[in-house]
């Protein structure tokens, strides 16, 4: 189906099902229960899962296939974001032109950075990309403030000279981002028993784009072009003597992944029209590297899983404060309750970084192939059940044969 083989079709079908049902899957706990803290099914976080998923999928096309480790991809996301906001300021609040322009600008910028950085390989390449991104960040934060609005981030104002559309609405506020009239904030809520599910228009736009992005990534992985990218990673010497020019292949992968980053940046501002300079900082570039490795480098589904885990920690764990802990453990005798809270507290709330660091270490120590390998191992436990079951994970990460 869709030009995919059986296993990929199954994988794609699963991803479609999960993304479409995410508002339900991510809200497994009734609103009133203590565990509702762990619900992630609210629009902003769901959008973030999907947007960073796109970012990581794109990064994986470069890193997973060619092995070139870019430490500056956040710069493309940032450039995409700025371009997107400017499009909304100048042209229209419809997100489509903004997203298209984001992708184009990020593509052009990555072409420039890639053209220069790809003259080197290995860690020298990594440092070149890092240097470009850090320069972009520093300049955006300071000297380029007229374009980027520096520290605060580029945002819409009440007197933007919008060509198609109004500067402000009748009631004096900034118009909302929309997709041909459907506001990104719109949506409806479904209340069922104690459960509450939010279906948000913005999320479904992001989800649709994620599915397209994921599908394109599968096509690339399975194409002769994808095989060539794997050849770049494997042996450039042999490529060269096999009549293939590795440089344009790598550059193409770099630009494609830069455009994915720009797409993610464009979607970010389409959902929330503000572009902050911090999203270009090296820590942001590092984050997408970590997402990819955490999920499983070079696997199709891994980057999405990795980005999900990191964003979940950032947004859910950081919000657990000691009051909530006391609520949870209220059933324990007082002394024990305090003790348990004291033990748990350093790992949540303001300590969420600590937990994330520990997760990084545990995953990489025990699951060298990332989360996907974890899935494979679990699947391995049920190996009696033949193919169908195994496909889910194996398709995602079976070594060279599939990937």
């Amino acid at each position: 189906m869709l030009g995919l083989n059986k296993r990929d079709t199954l994988l794609f079908a699963i991803v479609i099902a999960i993304t479409l049902l995410a508002p339900i899957i991510l809200n497994p706990f009734p609103v009133a229960s203590d565990l509702a803290q762990f619900n992630a099914g609210y629009p902003d976080l769901m959008q973030r899962f999907v947007i960073f998923g796109i970012f990581a999928i794109g990064f994986n096309i470069l890193f997973g296939l060619t092995g070139y480790l870019s430490f500056g991809h956040a710069a493309f996301l940032g450039v995409g974001s700025y371009a997107g906001v400017w499009m909304m300021k100048l042209l229209t609040m419809n997100v489509v032109p903004a997203i298209i322009v984001s992708v184009i600008f990020a593509g052009l910028f990555s072409l420039l950075v890639g053209f220069i950085s790809l003259r080197r390989s290995g860690i020298y390449f990594s440092i070149l990309t890092l240097a470009f991104a850090q320069m972009s960040f520093s300049l955006a934060y300071s000297v380029l403030t007229p374009i980027t609005n520096g520290e605060t981030g580029l945002q819409l104002s009440l007197n933007d000279p919008r060509i198609l559309g109004v500067s402000q609405t009748a009631d004096g506020s900034i118009p909302m981002t929309n997709f041909f009239g459907i506001a990104m904030r719109d949506g409806f809520e479904l209340s069922m028993g104690g459960w509450l599910f939010t279906f948000n228009a913005g999320y479904y736009l992001c989800a649709a784009i994620l599915l397209i992005a994921f599908y394109v990534s599968i096509r690339i992985f399975r194409s002769p072009f994808g095989v060539m990218l794997k050849a770049v990673k494997s042996n450039q010497q042999r490529m060269l003597y096999t009549g293939l020019n590795p440089r344009p292949y790598t550059l193409a992968a770099f630009v494609i992944s830069g455009m994915y980053a720009g797409l993610a940046g464009g979607l970010m501002v389409a959902m929330d029209p503000l572009a902050g300079a911090e999203r270009m900082q090296w820590t942001a570039s590092g984050e997408v590297v970590l997402m990819t490795i955490l999920g499983g480098t070079g696997t199709l589904i891994g980057p999405i899983l990795g980005s999900g885990v990191i964003k979940y920690f950032e947004n859910i764990f950081s919000k657990i404060n000691d009051n909530i802990l006391h609520d949870w453990f209220a059933f324990l005798p007082d002394g024990l309750e305090d003790f348990v809270v004291a033990i748990v507290y350093p790992f949540v709330g303001k300590g969420w970084h600590l937990t994330l660091g520990i997760v990084f270490m545990l995953v990489v120590i025990f699951l060298p192939g990332g989360i996907v390998e974890g899935g494979q191992r679990i699947a391995g436990l049920f190996k009696r059940k033949p193919p169908e079951d195994k496909n889910k994970t194996a398709a995602a990460s079976a070594p060279s044969a599939a990937e």
């Binding site: 890193f63 480790l69 220069i116 003259r119 080197r120 390989s121 290995g122 860690i123 020298y124 440092i127 070149l128 890092l130 240097a131 470009f132 850090q134 320069m135 520093s138 300049l139 934060y141 300071s142 000297v143 380029l144 090296w282 590092g286 590297v289 970590l290 490795i293 955490l294 480098t297 350093p346 300590g351 970084h353 600590l354 994330l356 660091g357 520990i358 997760v359 990084f360 270490m361 995953v363 990489v364 120590i365 060298p368």
Partner: protein, 343 residues
């Protein structure tokens, strides 16, 4: 002219810190083949050795002074450090005042222990793993280390002053007969520079003239061959790592009086020291030192307002710009060899 001399001094000082961190980093790359993102955290741990010792020495008894009140209107509790009770206010006070130099002695065993624990407990399992895995695990470790420090010491910087004897500045101008006060430089920063020179020089002598050093250098030149020699290379790797940790730690201890340590100072230095190592050439010790000083000096010059007025924002990006230019002109950095970390 004075301005230039001063900026050279600033650059040397900054370069000292870069070079010391980069030295250990490149040593670990070169011998162990490990990309250690936790190296900045080791620098930070060193600085917090100084903080910890300072706080330990200040550990106090409390006596109530009824004549004064605290912010709630209760009688004021006056703190007297134990060391002052034990050794008298003079010696005790001096011990507190000299806590940073004392911390050098305190930090060496601590950092060596940390280094050994890290290498034996974690890093050694990653020698054969891809660099990406090494980055992920050491980055995770760096986060864990700094969060632990944050848990105990908070996020704010903690003042850790140098002994009074080192407060104040040395007047170079007066020394060479120029106008007094035209070229002055703080004593402690000069100490830092001298200290860095000592460590770097000592390190090179050690690697040049000891058997251990020879094995290490051979290892950096050709890891596989040395592995084949097999003369308990494991143990040497551990020692190597501990030494690198120790150098980073000492750099941190000495840095504490220059800028008050905080829990994320390691991350602040991490990226820069990586750039330094790469600009110097992966696995090249002289390269790391040279690049450290070069970038330090260039950074200082780029900060001068004459330069910034000419090229706005140059002070923000100079290090990265220079790194790009050097890497484009010299593919493997200043003194790098072919094939190291290019794959």
């Amino acid at each position: 002219m004075d301005a230039i001399i001063l900026q050279v001094l600033n650059g040397l000082d900054k370069g000292s810190a870069y070079a010391l961190i980069a030295l250990g980093l490149t040593l670990i790359f070169g011998t162990l083949g490990v990309v250690n993102f936790a190296h900045g955290a080791l620098f930070m741990l060193g600085a917090f050795c100084a903080v910890t010792l300072n706080e330990l020495l200040r550990f106090s008894t409390e006596t109530v002074d009824p004549s004064r009140t605290d912010f709630l209107g209760n009688p004021l509790k006056v703190k007297t450090p134990y060391v002052e009770n034990w050794f008298g206010p003079d010696i005790g006070g001096a011990m507190i005042e000299w806590s940073v130099p004392l911390a050098i002695i305190f930090s060496i065993p601590v950092m060596i222990a940390v280094g050994i624990a890290m290498e034996r407990g974690l890093i050694k399992f990653f020698y054969k793993r891809p660099h990406a895995d090494q980055i992920l695990v050491t980055f995770g470790l760096a986060i864990v280390l700094q969060e632990i420090i944050k848990y105990f010491f908070g996020a704010n910087p903690i003042p850790t002053p140098a002994p009074d004897a080192f407060i104040g500045s040395f007047d170079f101008g007066a020394l060479v007969g120029m106008q007094a006060g035209s070229i002055i430089y703080p004593y402690w920063r000069l100490v830092y520079f001298a200290f860095a020179a000592l460590i770097i020089g000592g390190g090179f002598l050690f690697l040049q003239y000891t058997t251990f050093g020879m094995v290490v250098r051979a290892g950096m030149a050709d890891r596989e061959t040395v592995g084949l020699l097999g003369i308990n290379i494991d143990k040497r790797f551990t020692i190597m790592f501990a030494l690198a940790a120790c150098v980073a730690g000492l750099a941190g201890v000495m840095y504490a009086p220059i800028n008050s340590p905080n829990y994320h100072m390691g991350m602040d230095f991490l990226v820069l020291s990586f750039v330094v190592v790469v600009v110097g050439g992966m696995g090249s010790l002289p390269g790391a030192v040279a690049a450290g000083f070069l970038l330090g000096i260039l950074e200082s010059f780029a900060s001068m307002s004459q330069v910034v007025n000419l090229l706005p924002g140059i002070n923000q990006i100079i290090i990265y710009l220079v790194a790009i230019i050097i890497l484009l002109i010299r593919p493997r950095g200043l003194l790098g060899r072919k094939g190291v970390m290019e794959g």
